[in-house]
Symmetry: C2
Subunit: 462 residues, 2 copies
């Protein structure tokens, strides 16, 4: 399902209802969604003056599950045979992973060939090697993977002039996912319609002759100040692959400076703008588990601990409020369809129960048939989603814990600026579920939107 | 706030509404809560024939934050001075932690003295040293800490004849919690009324002369079968304190056998009953972060990764359904006030919006004033809580991800048996937020209640 098909169903007007601004807005919902869609489309995208013809394109490729397992085990000194054995024990098929991997690499080759046949200079970059230098070099960047890869690629593009295009290199993976735990992002909402994966020359042609629309997606910027900060961003997916390699890198970038200063955390007296932008959401919360790395030859043991996160929050420069919850999510319009949606959406079961109680309390004849419950549930859930070009963020306090100490005030809503003061001891700030920063007691994050942080991407007809 | 004060507000009848069993049950809610309370109390507890006079009592003490930090840093070869410095950097006061620690130890001394003055043989056991042998030795066990300690202590008591009593050794800690992230459990719902902390002899006297009620709390048992299981339970709180110490232990208990068999995970052909009972809830989900242990002298780096959990679930031997979500929670009546409550409760904001949509869709005059919204919200949230002696479990699929592949069927409800087949690659099964088992692809868990698994604890008037 593409971005726009969803926007059609989710007029931005309806979201005001979340803030309880009365029934009028709701009544607006009926019928005129499409009209709202068109008006929002005007903001969201525009026809390019001329076609788009980049000279240098970087193709950033995802790490397949096959590569993940291979690097993880082979690095630990295991043979290909051991790998097959271990995967089997985990219920995964070695040949199955190989097949998915082959599909991905074939699609990458197809993309690269198509670009070169147009005389475009191409650099193929593995996700783990993708950095600022690559971004500087390229006129445009193609993310070859799923939405996860697209999010990481976009996060490092700070200029709104450099287009980023996502191509889903394994469109069938959702059906084949019975052995991986996929994030909703993986469904390719951020990528071109899947048919272009196999027909990339056609997509390229449309780009060249301007048969497309620019789509600017609003993004979130982060300022950090105070103590308890580890400003070294870490790609969690890469990090997963080899803790050793990662900690090496980390020791060089962070630990030495820490030891020099004798200070385990760097401290910023004034707000420090992080060199990363968020397309989906920022999530702040206690780390929920810890990995115990035994000797790397042996499989690691992983543990899960649920601990509530304690922090203070100020919305749009309002008063600081203490909060205790299972974390805090702050999303863009793009991200309002991802994790934030799952945090906030209601099941029909809950809606039925609320109407049920309302009915018994008022004696009013509120209908409780399946069709009506579905209608109300859909309207409610649709109101959670807003347009990718919307200039507002939406914050959600996840599973708030309310008691005499902690305020039960607004659990979520729109904001143009959110400030958070960490009171946690082992917390992280996670950008788009992919890049993590330590965010412990003493750290203050300022989360906001800026005109200049829009991501330039393309909207191609299917 | 004690258990019963809550039960008063939450008649068990009302929970049926969660399953959408119509309006009648709701109307029953009005007024007669207290009566329901008494009837439920009859099930829940009973007057002991004689007084309760144990000869041997084990006092299991929590690990204070001060001990936590001390062991963590001193183990890493840091001096007391370094510790002060590091705590300051984390925004924590060394003297503050020392003060909380002193309060705890004083209260433990008070408890032990009181017991010995009655001629009772006492063994003081640190949480980390608490094991089956201690349970066998004692006639009764006192948990000296918060609810977290009580949960761990109870989890290892398999017999319903051995009483477990919780004493909150730092009743003020909630007010002083500005530098720790507390779980809702920490408020002491499972412990004696806090006034007995300082007046333990009085509690003891009441126990001896039978001025109390036995309270039997239903608990959950776990059967595991298949592969992808690491059956070695790990105390997450202890594990946190020293990964090195832990991994040592772990290497001995698990890894050697793994290497012997060349099999990283043990495999059970038939269901294997785990030697642990759950008083609050079982949570199954992907590990949400990974800890990178650099050299132990240096502070560790912790990362957070949100990944959805993929599994199959069968409720009460019904058909297997694929699910993708941020985990799965299965709780007891006791646990229905803890994490499960926070997962399922609605904010007034959401209730208002649902009624708002209902109103605009029906044109009915549904009132939307603060008072009414509060009333409906309270009734809804109260219906999530049920009695500790209830013979049912309540399952909640957390943040379900619905798409064409995954069923959007019942998101939660009561069950007497839940079976779960893991399809995750790095998942854990966590008992009461404290003990963790690996639960990966190939593993099947059967979660149920049994008469014989009740926890015998006491209900003392305040």
């Amino acid at each position: 399902m593409g971005v726009w098909s969803l926007v059609v169903r989710m007029p931005r007007r309806s979201v005001v209802n979340l803030l309880g601004l009365g029934t009028r807005a709701v009544s607006l919902l009926n019928g005129n969604s499409l009209q709202t869609f068109h008006s929002s489309l005007k903001h969201a995208s525009s026809l390019p003056k001329a076609g788009f013809k980049p000279e240098k394109v970087a193709v950033v490729t995802k790490t397949t599950r096959y590569e993940f397992e291979q690097q993880r085990y082979l690095y630990a000194g295991l043979s290909e045979e051991d790998l097959k054995h271990l995967l089997a024990l985990k219920g995964s098929s070695y040949s199955g992973l190989q097949e998915r991997h082959k599909i991905h690499t074939n699609n990458v080759e197809h993309i690269v060939k198509s670009l070169r046949s147009k005389g475009i200079e191409v650099r193929i970059v593995k996700r783990g090697e993708y950095d600022e230098e690559v971004v500087r070099w390229a006129d445009a960047i193609i993310s070859a993977g799923g939405d996860g890869t697209m999010l990481l690629v976009a996060s490092k593009v700070l200029s709104k002039d450099k287009p980023v295009v996502g191509v889903n290199t394994d469109p069938e993976s959702i059906q084949h996912s019975s052995h991986v735990c996929l994030h909703p992002r993986s469904e390719g909402h951020l990528c071109l319609p899947v048919r272009y994966t196999h027909a990339f020359p056609e997509a390229l042609k449309k780009l060249c002759c301007g048969e497309f629309r620019w789509l600017w997606r609003q993004r979130i910027r982060l300022h950090l100040e105070g103590t308890g900060i580890n400003p070294t961003p870490v790609d969690l997916h890469e990090q997963q692959m080899s803790l050793e390699q990662h900690s090496q890198a980390h020791r060089i970038t962070t630990m030495d400076s820490r030891l020099r200063t004798g200070n385990p955390y760097e401290s910023f007296s004034k707000p420090n703008l992080l060199p990363i932008r968020s397309l989906n959401e920022i999530f702040i919360g206690e780390s929920l588990s810890s990995r115990v790395e035994l000797n790397s030859i042996k499989p690691h043991v992983k543990l899960l601990l649920h601990r509530a996160s304690y922090y203070e929050i100020s919305v749009d420069d309002g008063p600081w409020e203490k909060q205790k919850s299972s974390g805090l999510s702050i999303c863009t319009g793009t991200g309002s369809k991802a994790w934030s949606y799952n945090i906030n959406k209601l099941a029909e079961q809950a809606v039925e129960e609320v109407l049920n109680i309302g009915k018994s309390q008022t004696g009013l004849d509120i209908p409780l048939n399946r069709e009506f419950i579905e209608k109300v549930t859909d309207l409610y859930n649709e109101s959670l989603v807003f347009s990718p070009d919307d200039r507002r963020m939406f914050f959600s306090i996840r599973e708030p814990i309310v008691n005499r100490v902690f305020s039960s005030s607004r659990q979520r809503g729109f904001a143009s600026k959110v400030s958070v003061r960490s009171r946690c001891w082992d917390a992280c700030m996670v950008v788009d579920g992919g890049t993590s920063f330590e965010f412990n007691d003493g750290a203050i994050a300022t989360i906001s939107l800026s005109e200049e942080d829009q991501l330039r991407t393309v909207d191609l007809e299917n």
